[in-house]
Amino acid sequence: MTIIIQNVVRLIVPFILMFGAYVTVYGHVSPGGGFAGGTILAAALILERFVGINRKWSLNKSTCLKGVSFSLVGYGILKGIAFLEGAMHIELIHWPLGQPGALFSAGIIPLLNILIGLVVMMAFVLLFDLFNEDLAGEDH
């Protein structure tokens, strides 16, 4: 890739990441949510990979798989408790709902949105890496 593209991408990727984070974190007060935000985050990271920028902190496959799994474990435990509470008609943990419209409101919904965002982002990046590696291996 030419240096122009690389520099432009270097410049805009942080903004895309910030936008993705915004969409994820504000999923309960504005249009968006974990799935949309995670896709935007993944798009930014895949864009970097496309133009051949290797940052030190860029996610490798093992980190991605760990991220996906442990986000899902967290999600499963958080929501599993809620499911069981509903099924057994008891209340174990009370999550404060807060003022509707504020960032810290709506109980665990923002937390779940962040976890879903992480799952979606890392799963997409992982899929891209796997495909990319396999296709690159075929050419040589």
């Binding site: 504005s30 799935f35 509707p100 495909f131 296709l135």
Partner: protein, 119 residues
């Protein structure tokens, strides 16, 4: 006849569904099959979301003073549907990559004809 024009989104999505279904069944190229699959899925999403539409209603984001909102249920369900379609597409593409690296072609009828020994 007028119902065909009034419900034009449903009619359009059913036609798209038929196109996708046929692409999936009749084409031999795997990539074209996957495209057909996606057309079919998208047409169902379109159909589902058109069920939830209400004329002159607002998007389902709570705002003071708004009375009529669009039905949020189809939107939520189709979010799930889209994720499922993406995952199936990813897996189908992975299989396509493997098939291409084994057989060197994407035409399904040629692949089915080839015996494993001949490779």
């Amino acid at each position: 006849m007028s119902i065909l024009l009034d419900n034009f989104i449903e009619v359009g999505s059913i036609i798209l569904f038929a196109i996708g279904f046929t692409t999936l069944l009749v084409h031999n190229n795997l990539i074209k099959k996957i495209i057909g699959l996606n057309i079919m899925d998208t047409s169902i999403f379109l159909y589902f979301i058109s069920i939830g539409y209400i004329d002159e209603a607002h998007a389902p984001i709570f705002k003071e003073g708004v009375v009529q909102y669009v039905n949020p249920v189809p939107s939520g369900l189709m979010l799930t549907g889209i994720v499922v379609a993406v995952s199936v597409t990813a897996f189908a593409l992975a299989l396509t990559i493997r098939l291409h690296s084994i057989y060197g072609t994407l035409e399904l009828d040629e692949i089915m004809k080839m015996r494993e020994e001949n490779i």
